[in-house]
């Protein structure tokens, strides 16, 4: 493994990996793309991937499972107007890429004549995740030892801890993208993650607490006791809290969202509706709203793929476009969409570095990276004090949005009643619902405490999962509907 961890080094390392191991060089890539262009198509690209993923997991006090997965393949795309042809194979070779190119171009029945392509380099600007050693090279024994320590620590922490489940997942992904506009891009993307789940019991009552962390950084970060002990403390605290939580009242109320992970509100309610495909097709609740007010003054929301080491960050997207910071909402006004090449081109806009795919077996789609709201001026304590009666939601399990109607829902995993400006009893089963284009217009206070999540988000769209990040300062949202069991 080389140690040149500049961005150019990462690109070169990935390029030579595919060349040395599979004979995929510039000349044969050019020939593959030329095959696709023998029909009249606007654009073609070839995407090669070689990914190793390892995981080790513990339950009932022992590490029961270890796994290693090798995923490799090539996908070739041809695009003509709004049409896309896509073919993929799990064999990495120029022969299989050629066959895929022949299949993908079938979306066009017109002859394109012969075109010559000259692939060149694009000097990347930076490496957002300069990890010296692939996390999948860390010996499995090291990971097993970490999980054993976590189990012992959790059980010693509190007698109510009945079950501990923990896992370490590491991924090393090499990609190469060659496109008919002459760009040849490549990247190496490391990813690590630690999950801890505990079940706590008190008499007949049982509850679960979860905490995770991860990102594109060395696995050593997960091994630091200050990190994993904090995670165990959190998981146990939440499980015990839920043992004593009361049913959530239902109805409209003022809601304060805590900083960090509650940013999934932005992801669900806003971000998806701003993805270029839905807006090009005008199927989003945000279609044709560019330049209009969609949030209160002071609300600025960005999607930023360039944050070092973040789970949602990427040097380049899966079409070879460098990631960047994109402002979606600026001081309450909708100013931008998230684009891949296809939808940007059809809308006469620029690709924004958001063309992502789960793997070579999937076509790129406009996807988020790290989506968050910039900090405001308010003191978080003051925000809580401003609410007479409401809900303080600190953490969430997950959420979903109906892109077209804009309706969203997400479920709190840690929430409290607010009474007379004070944080009161913990509640369970709180679900927030609302309307995407409307919810941010109800933001009345924005805290000065922006936090990003701990690196556990995976976003699903059209059956494709990609790692993402979210972030939020403490915010107050007025008159949000809270679903619960107490009428």
């Amino acid at each position: 493994m080389t140690t040149d961890r500049t961005s150019e080094g990462t690109r070169e390392e990935s390029l030579s990996f595919f060349k040395d191991r599979f004979g995929v060089d510039e000349k044969s890539l050019e020939a593959t793309l030329e095959t696709a262009l023998e029909r009249r198509v606007d654009y073609a690209d070839a995407y090669f991937e070689y990914t190793t993923q390892d995981s080790v997991s513990l339950e009932e006090g022992i590490v029961k499972d270890g796994s290693r997965h090798l995923d490799q393949g090539v996908g070739v795309r041809a695009q003509s107007g709004e049409r896309q042809g896509y073919a993929h194979s799990d064999e990495i070779s120029i022969d299989s890429a050629q066959i895929a190119a022949g299949t993908a171009r079938a979306i066009s029945d017109q002859n394109g004549g012969s075109q010559a392509i000259a692939l060149g380099g694009e000097r990347a600007q930076r490496n957002l995740y300069p990890v010296e050693e692939s996390p999948t090279d860390t010996p499995v024994e090291t990971k097993v030892a970490l999980l054993d320590q976590i189990d012992r620590y959790a059980r010693a922490l509190d007698p109510c801890v009945k079950q501990v489940m923990a896992s370490v997942i590491t991924q090393h992904r090499r990609i190469l993208v060659a496109s008919s506009d002459g760009r040849l891009s490549a990247d190496i993307q490391p990813l690590v993650r630690l999950n801890i789940q505990v079940i706590a019991a008190d008499g007949d009552k049982r509850e679960v607490g979860y905490e995770g962390m991860g990102g594109r950084y060395p696995i050593d970060r997960l091994m630091e006791p200050s990190n994993w002990k904090r995670m165990v403390d959190e998981a146990v605290r939440v499980a015990k809290l839920n043992l004593n939580s009361i049913p959530c009242p239902a109805g409209s109320m003022n809601v304060v969202l805590g900083p960090g992970w509650p940013g999934i509100l932005l992801h669900e309610a806003i971000g998806h509706g701003l993805e270029g495909d839905f807006n090009r097709k005008k199927t989003s609740a945000f279609s044709d709203k560019l330049g209009q007010r969609v949030a209160s003054e002071g609300v600025t929301v960005v999607d930023d793929g360039t944050l070092p080491e973040r789970r949602g960050s990427i040097n380049i997207d899966d079409e070879g476009t460098p990631s960047r910071q994109n402002v979606l909402i600026e001081n309450g006004i909708l100013v931008g969409y998230l684009h891949d090449r296809l939808n940007a081109g059809l809308m006469g806009m620029e690709p924004t570095g958001n063309g992502r795919r789960e793997s070579y077996a999937h076509m790129p789609l406009p996807r988020m990276t790290n989506t968050f709201m910039l900090a405001g001026q308010d003191d978080p304590e003051e925000i809580l004090k401003s609410v007479d009666r409401g809900l303080y939601a600190v953490s969430f399990g997950g959420g979903q949005v109906d892109i077209t109607s804009g309706k969203f829902v997400f479920s709190a995993s840690e929430a409290y009643l607010i009474e007379d400006g004070q944080v009161g009893a913990p509640v369970k089963g709180a679900t927030l619902i609302g309307n995407g284009p409307d919810v941010l217009t109800r933001v009345s206070r924005i805290g000065n405490d922006l936090e990003l999540d701990r690196g556990v988000g995976t976003c699903g769209k059209d059956g494709q999962g990609v790692p993402v990040g979210v972030g939020l300062p403490t915010v107050r949202i007025d008159d949000l509907i809270v679903g619960g069991t107490e009428g």
Binding site: R83, R206, V409, E486
Partner: protein, 456 residues
């Protein structure tokens, strides 16, 4: 395209097991999944995409004898070069040596499937289905949707897919089996628009045979009708009312129930149903069956992920809990035999999965159940993940139709429905007569006597 008896595929699987044994595994199994698929999407008049794929993936599990039991590991690879398989088999064993011994780990002792019945999981001639034919299916769904109403003026598209797969599974106790299956689908998702208000809905048809698919035009029309009736949806004041789940939303309850019946949730005590065997956990109108051998069933397979024969299991009989869903590992943990519910993909070890899972049909059509409801909610779509299997707490986003005096009055959205799953199951007071398979799980319309609907 190879047949399931493709000698070289069987040889690759056998090679993986042999490689693991040579490297020191005392037991091993391997599964090869081969798939050949095509997918087309048409939106409005235009083809949006055409996608083709060929994939093969091999999963290997090695179990190594230790003093306290067997330790295990799983690997998978789509590099099927014989030498790559040998390396992977060795890595699997090395990884297994690093995990802890588990006295309950291991292959099933015996009882492997002896016959591999033809469950009509594919029709050979369907292999010739052309991309053009499936594009035509999607086009017909799109145009039929548009013809329903001028307010159907946009679309997220109609998608037609055909997937052929072959599964070969061997283990070191001598089981060797394989089968082919197909999965054809058509999914249509039109948009209805009425000035400011914009709504989407969908309908779908799925079958093991092309000939078993519903008429594409009928799929498009049904999807369009569902989208149109959502226009003008509004929230309702928070209240407690009966909630009816239609045949698209009722199966989600079944999926949640199955998760709570999995042997893994039971031995971990992470299910609210742990300890409830033999008790009444649902209303007496509810009988739940899992049967892996329905001819042409979307969840049918002749043997499970460990080579055991699939079978019919009555999980809930007239409301009484009769069986967990078990593979051999979770069965051993609970002192019970496997129920033939091991599921296994190339990328993971065995786990518990359902096959064809359904709630037995009862009396009355959906319309009759609605007519019998004084005031309530018909749920046609659910979003979000608000279900806690350990406590049964349930709270999800919903949209649907409001019912007054047995009549549908207006569409409803931006609400949640909430309750405890235990109370919901016990509170089912109507089970409809319409049972249609659109996935591996099916349920007739169900009415839950009372839930909290939270709205404005």
């Amino acid at each position: 395209m190879s047949s399931p008896q493709n000698a070289s595929d069987h040889e690759l699987v056998a090679r993986a097991i042999e490689g693991a044994r040579k490297a020191g595994a005392s037991q091993a199994d391997a599964v090869l999944v081969r798939s050949d698929s095509q997918e087309v999407k048409v939106r409005n008049e235009e083809i949006e995409h055409v996608k083709r794929a060929n994939e093969r993936c091999l999963g290997i599990r090695a179990l190594v004898a230790q003093e306290a039991g067997l330790s295990s590991a799983v690997t998978s690879t789509c590099d099927l070069d014989p030498e790559a398989i040998d390396r992977m088999a060795q890595e699997t064993v090395a990884l297994a040596r690093a995990t802890a011994a588990d006295p309950h780990a291991g292959l099933p002792e015996d009882g492997f499937a002896e016959d591999i019945p033809d469950l009509e999981l594919m029709k050979a001639s369907d292999r010739n289905v052309s991309v053009e034919a499936r594009i035509e299916d999607a086009r017909r769904a799109e145009s039929a949707a548009r013809e329903v109403d001028p307010r159907i003026n946009n679309s997220e598209g109609s998608e037609a897919a055909s997937d052929f797969s072959e599964i070969i599974y061997h283990n070191s106790r001598g089981f060797q089996g394989g089968y082919s299956s197909a999965y054809h689908s058509l999914f249509s998702q039109p948009l209805a628009s009425d000035g400011e208000n914009k709504q989407r809905d969908y309908w779908m048809t799925v079958s093991r045979q092309i000939a078993g698919l519903e008429d594409p035009a009928a799929v498009g029309r049904k999807a369009a009708e569902r989208a149109i009736r959502r226009l003008g949806g509004r929230s309702v004041p928070t209240c407690e009312v009966p909630v009816i789940f239609d045949s698209l939303t009722a199966p989600s309850l079944l999926g949640q129930l199955a998760g709570c019946l999995s042997g893994y949730s039971i031995y971990r005590e992470s299910s609210f149903l742990a300890g409830c065997m033999g008790q009444s956990i649902a209303s007496s109108a509810v009988t739940v069956i899992d049967d892996g051998r329905l001819p042409g069933g979307l969840g049918s397979k002749p043997f499970d992920g460990e080579g055991l024969p699939t079978r019919r299991n009555v999980l809930v009989d007239d409301g009484r809990l009769e069986s967990w869903l078990l593979d051999s590992y979770s069965g051993r943990k609970l002192g019970l035999p496997s129920t033939g519910n091991a599921s296994r993909g190339a990328g993971s070890g065995p786990g518990v999965g359902t096959t064809n899972l359904w709630i037995e049909a009862g009396q009355g059509t959906l319309d009759e159940i609605i007519a019998d409801t004084e005031k309530g909610l018909l749920v046609t779509e659910l979003i979000g993940m608000g279900f806690n299997p350990i406590t049964g707490d349930y709270s999800r986003g919903a949209s649907g139709l409001w019912i007054e005096a047995g009549q549908i009055t207006h569409p409803v959205e931006e609400i949640t429905i909430a309750g405890n799953f235990r109370d919901m199951l016990l509170g089912i007071d109507a089970v409809g007569s319409e049972l249609v398979w659109r996935s591996r799980s099916a349920a007739p319309p169900l009415r839950v006597g009372q839930m909290t609907v939270a709205g404005q």
